[in-house]
Subunit: 240 residues, 2 copies
DNA sequence: CGGCGAATTGACCCGCATCAACTATCGTGG
DNA sequence: CCACGATAGTTGATGCGGGTCAATTCGCCG
């Protein structure tokens, strides 16, 4: 249970040979625990390794001058939180644990070695950073063009899909140990308004979010409300 | 004047050897012209080549059910508009010319060849897709947490910086042949409100946008208003 | 001169923010 | 065991930024 979820996700998209699996296992360091609400990476700091999230939830944050924050992406088990740091060498945002997490690292030297000797695996890792970008695009569209209720519904659908992919969600519920204020920081809303929107979703009998758990009563309706399509998560096999 | 601007940008970030330049030149096909407002790529369609923008402006679009659109990124000369398509094999958005454009293509087979034989160049191309993602993140933060005037100012600063990088902008002006409605689709606003915000920027003597040209009167003040820092464009040399 | 898309401006409206008070939950120490 | 303090959630009253609708004007081209 270290890189299993990562492999599970990669294999949904493309084949991973035994040799590729072996080299991946070799470069991933032993996991360690991190307390909730800890900064793993600060904006601008030089990076020499990338972080694989084994368990828990992490977020990519940007701080604004006035103390407001925007979360740009949430990470779940099996995600690299900062694989883009491998080519960027520093980040334009912070990375923080939202909950208690278990994480491992992949040294950039080792990733470099992969790019020198495993081109297919390299393309697959590149692919995963491009899926992160696709998620960014959907969030951009949400913030630009969806109203508060559709935005929240979309986030709930996205996490359902991504958590299901690694066996952590069913069609009707999953654990999401975040606060309403966290959701507000994802959605470009205030905590107060998130609360009101959750109330409306509850009253419309679409879903509830209580004590760190999402319960979905009618997923198809929720998806329709959110105008959600999972295409952007690239869950099907690639031809290449 | 085909891949010159691309090389110019890449060399700002890292070295490109003669051999790497040679292979890049070989895989890029001869440029062709495309009229304004033409779809180059439609969401979901299978891709076998990636598009290098030689001249003009292109945009990445998402359409919403109700006919609204959100632009997720603008591309300028020297950008690959869909290099992410190389690993994704289809896109989650449309790509459209905003102006008359000159474009070339790089077949995915040839890019594959690069990943097999030129790991350093591969990392550099991977890097450029990660910068696109960084741009997405900044737009996300803009839409989530900046008000209309700061959002518009930020976009103007970003384009100034990116166009300057390829020699198409000075500190005080650059050509930007878009309509106010185009800007609205970037900024998650209505054309009417973009108009009002432009008026305010004019009256505060920060900048003007008229007949396809941005004129900046006070770039430092504009950057302060926008809370703009160019860090996310990764313009400095990487250590790797 | 006429036509058409883009820009401009005014009047009015609404979704979400703001401010403030109150409740619920839970861990901690006396 | 209860008092407490802290954090999260809930609700109401009010205000504002940006949307909507509609009428003009501008600029360009035929």
């Amino acid at each position: 249970m270290t890189i299993e979820r990562l492999l599970q996700k990669l294999r949904k998209r493309d084949e991973v040979s035994d040799e590729e699996e072996k080299i991946l296992r070799e470069i991933i360091e032993p996991p360690r625990s991190v307390a909730p609400r800890q900064y793993l990476i600060r904006e601008g700091e030089p990076l020499t390794r990338s972080t694989l999230l084994i368990e828990g939830i992490m977020g990519r944050y940007k701080d604004m001058r006035d103390g407001q924050r925007q979360i740009m992406e949430l990470h779940v088990a099996g995600d690299f939180a900062d694989l883009h740091g491998f080519t960027l060498k520093r980040l334009d945002h912070d990375v923080m644990t939202m909950t208690e997490c278990r994480v491992s690292s992949a040294p950039h030297d080792a990733l470099n070695y992969i790019t020198e000797h495993y081109p297919r695996l390299t393309r697959l890792l590149w692919f995963t950073t491009n899926v992160d970008a696709a998620i960014h695009r959907v969030w951009t569209a949400s913030l630009g063009r969806r109203d508060a209720i559709a935005r929240l519904a979309h986030l709930v659908c996205e996490l359902q899909q991504r958590l299901q992919l690694v066996g952590l969600a069913s069609a009707s519920e999953y654990g999401l140990p975040l606060t309403q204020a966290d959701l507000a920081e994802c959605l470009g809303l205030t905590p107060v308004h998130v609360n009101r929107v959750l109330k409306e979703l509850r009253e419309r009998e679409l879903m509830t979010f209580r004590s760190g758990r999402v319960t979905i009563y009618d997923l198809p309706k929720l998806k329709r409300l959110a105008e959600f399509s999972s295409d952007y998560l690239y869950l099907d096999r690639r031809s290449s």
